[in-house]
């Protein structure tokens, strides 16, 4: 029987479920004219959820429902940032949604359910919770991608996403079943991650366990979008409505990190010497494919999609270091990437207007002439993504590189840095287009400055600079979460 204590531990999650259901009802019974109110209500819902997460933070890790759910610092930090970036997505999405007549309950409810999935996923203490959270997130995301169902690309992207996602979920589930089986050979079968930790020491079927691990890594790789499981990323990024892309590039990546951490460290920590190399290979493949293919893209969303793949390579660099240092670096990277991704897509959202999608890199030509401030914000995002100091992205890269060197993988750090040089080109190219090219007719500009968007986006992009100048507290926070 769940006790009151269990429910209190899950208070933010229960609250979000209730709020999302309430939003659905509101949407159904509201007059069409009042619908825009939903926007502000949803943002308020998320802000209250952040408050509940932060204020209710237990002094040390606690579990609920017999270990199904873990509430520790790692989960709290990831949740706070996932909620925060989603609230930012809401702010940035408003003009886009209004102009495309998509502003309605579906978007907000689905987004909140997706965030709920993230919250479950990063708090998972059991294979079942991992799967539940993952599916909640994925199913909401599939639907979100197809939100603009009258256009050509979104349904196509959603089908691709769904088919490949289902395949990956199947792989993950298959792997989990093998791990479960292996845990039963020579002991009591268990799905609990904490108990799975030492299966390797007693199981009579270590090969089965390793097989299970490989399949689980496929699932993780898919969720992260690491090469060679990256095929869906460019199409989905391009096809999805930009606000949804923004969400997939930010909150979803935090979730992927959380899932990888839960499964690999809590569950399969004993096998770290085995998965370390697998992750390193994924990292190298992602860095290579992401950075090289991004160079030839002309569509900004596709370019950022490949850039995501390469960034996941860096995140894997930290994860493959397989230690608290590495995890802290990887989490720092995930947070950093979420902030950068939201900022970069946010500028694109700010540029869209009725009948005009700011999608091609060429749309940004001469942006510095039309909207110097927007160009400057994009410049910050691009230099941060490229990893040029003093911006935030640079320090995140330094941290994962340090973690790799610390784990005696100097070669991996060198591969990472070489691809950073290659990746530099396409970010600089965007800056070049904005600053050095002459503006063209029909290019991007901020047509109707939406004040909240402008303010939040400015704060978002400036935070890349501010955190670049003073990243100590955030790092300390990440390290403390992993007991450093």
């Amino acid at each position: 029987m769940p006790t009151l204590n269990d429910i209190l531990i899950l208070l933010p999650e229960f609250y979000l479920v209730a709020a999302a259901c309430l939003l659905l009802l509101l949407d159904a019974f509201m007059k069409p004219a009042q619908r825009p109110l939903l926007h502000w209500i949803s943002i308020a819902v998320l802000l209250v959820a952040i408050y509940l997460v932060v204020a209710g933070q237990p002094p040390q890790a606690v579990t609920a429902f017999g270990g199904m759910f873990v509430r520790d610092d790692v989960a709290e930090i990831l949740k706070a940032f996932a909620l925060g970036t989603t609230a930012m997505v809401f702010v940035y999405a408003r003009p886009y949604l209004i102009e495309r007549k998509l502003l309605g309950g579906e978007f907000y409810t689905l987004m909140i359910f997706a965030v709920l999935g993230i919250m479950l996923l990063v708090s998972a203490g059991n294979l079942v919770t991992v799967y539940l959270g993952l599916e909640l997130l994925s199913l909401s995301s599939y639907a979100l991608v197809a939100l603009n169902r009258d256009a050509k690309l979104p349904p196509e992207a959603a089908i691709k996403y769904f088919v490949l996602g289902a395949l990956a979920s199947g792989m993950l589930l298959y792997g989990m079943s093998m791990v479960y089986g292996a845990s039963g050979m020579g002991g009591t079968p268990t799905l609990d991650l904490a108990q799975l930790h030492n299966v390797m020491s007693y199981t009579t079927a270590p090969t089965l366990l390793l097989f299970g691990l490989v399949f689980m890594i496929v699932g993780i790789g898919f969720k992260l979008g690491a090469a060679p499981f990256h095929m869906w990323i460019p199409d989905v990024y391009q096809g999805a409505p930009t606000p949804v892309t923004t969400f997939i590039a930010s909150g979803s990546k935090l979730a992927a990190f959380g899932m990888a951490y839960r499964l690999l460290d809590a569950g399969m920590g004993d096998l770290s010497q085995h998965w370390q190399l697998m992750l390193a290979v994924l990292a190298v493949a992602s860095l290579a494919i992401g950075n090289l293919v991004a160079i030839v893209q002309t569509n900004l969303k596709r370019m950022l999609a490949y850039s995501t793949i390469s960034h996941m390579g860096y995140l894997l660099l930290g994860l493959s270091a397989a230690g608290p240092e590495g995890y802290a670096a990887a989490m720092f990277y995930a947070i950093c990437y979420a902030l950068m991704g939201v900022a970069a897509f946010g500028v694109m959202l700010a540029m869209t207007r009725a009948g005009f999608e700011c999608e091609e890199i060429a749309d940004l030509k001469g942006l510095n002439q039309r909207s110097p401030w927007m160009a400057f914000l994009m410049l910050l995002a691009m230099f941060s993504l490229a990893g040029v100091p003093p911006l935030f992205g640079f320090w995140a890269k330094v941290l994962v590189l340090e973690a790799a060197i610390h784990a005696n993988m100097l070669w991996l750090a060198i591969v990472g840095i070489v691809f950073a040089i290659i990746g530099l080109y396409y970010y600089l190219y965007v800056v070049k287009v904005m600053y050095f090219d002459k503006p063209e007719e029909g290019g991007a500009s901020q047509a109707q400055p939406d004040q909240p968007l402008r303010v939040v986006l400015s704060l978002n992009a400036m935070s890349l600079l501010a955190l670049g100048l003073y990243w100590g507290p955030l790092l300390a926070w990440c390290r403390r979460a992993f007991g450093l």
Partner: protein, 502 residues
Amino acid sequence: MFNHLLSLLIWLPVAGAIPVLLAGSARPNLARWLSLLVAVLTFVVSLFLLGQYDPSGAAMQLVESHLWIASWGVHYGLAVDGISVALIVMTTFVGILVVAGAWEVIQDKPHQYMAAMLILEGLLIGVFCATDALLFYALFEAILIPMFILIGIWGGPRRVYATLKFFIYTFFGSVFMLIALLYLYQKAHTFDLATLAALPLTFKEQAWIFFAFLIAFAIKVPMVPVHTWLPDAHVEAPTGGSVVLAAVMLKVGTYGMLRFILPIVPDAGAHFAWLVIVLSLIAIVYIGYVALVQEDMKKLVAYSSVAHMGFVTLGIFIAFMLVREQGHTDMALLGMQGAMVQMISHGFVSGAMFTCIGVMYDRTHTRLIKDYGGVINVMPWFGFFYVLFAMANCGLPGTSGFVGEFMVILSSFSASPWIALFAAFTLIIGAGYTLWLVKRVLWGEITNPHVAEMKEINARETFVLGAFAAAVLALGIWPQPLVHLMDGSVAQLVQQLAIHKI
């Protein structure tokens, strides 16, 4: 206030860029005056720094240290020695002239131009006084952003190619340095340069770290064979960009060698000194010949910069040879001092040369030597300055160009007469390309109609060129204060060379 003098120097121009940007394109004159005000204030503060600095002590002075990133033990650590002070004062001095030099020349978004210049100035000052390796690295890389923008927006026709090449080339070099620094951090658990200097390292480690550092700094200096970004960047950069690039930014490379290679990997440095010496001699002789055949004035001066910076690297690494192999500490000291004087002198001379080319370019919009001829007939005052700087560029005694080169040649003679022989080639080649340039541009009859329409330099240009001329002559006639300023610090560096760390 006194404890934060260095911070003030860094942040004053950076913060000063904000009101300049806010002035906007609608009020270009306000932006210009504001940036001039900031540049002058920064110069005044740097003079104050000069007064505060006590040249008799060898230790780092005006130390500022705050814990920046607690969990990594990274400090916001600033301090200066004589070399830093000299470079900082040169930077702020050039900063004023660059702002003044761009006054009416930059008509397109002057506020952004000026702001980028000021930010660049602040970052460069930061590089010259950082005592924490990570802080140094961050500033070292951050410099690229404003420079990228400067060349890309206000540059010449091939600016995009040049600026991308510049950015990626220099970024390429420095990332290996980052790996080396992270490796050192694993061993020492700090980025503090003084601690790293005391860290024992095996020869193999030193060799790898040496090459990682060398790539980073050699590209910045630039040394042969990684100098190819420089002619492109110089040719396409706006005048002010070229001036800062040549006068200050190249010095970051040699300064980095002094701060990183010399103290942290002295044994590898001594072992591979021959390599750097050979590359320096190639720069001096071969690049001198390359300069000779250039048809573009800016390219010619750019190549001559590579050749002159060859003297700086020669002076630094000849010291290894002298100290480690022959025990000539006093000669090593001379060579090192020569290198330092050459750094400062080259800053003024190359800055002045690029300003001169800019002055001509503003009138005719061409940089090709063949488009000129007989300029002295229409611009006698300009001709006066141009000849003066040309003389300094080929190292005429009495100008600053002579002092450093002479000291370096003298000390390399005691290391090996052969090295001195090749180094001394510069006296002939340098004179060759510079005087030939002067001959083709200034002297002779006016053959091109647009030269006849060139107007004499105005008061603003006279001020800029005059200031450069004063600096060049002052250093040439009386280099003693500069040498004295850097004396203790150079002696300290030479001492560090001798310490075996294995």
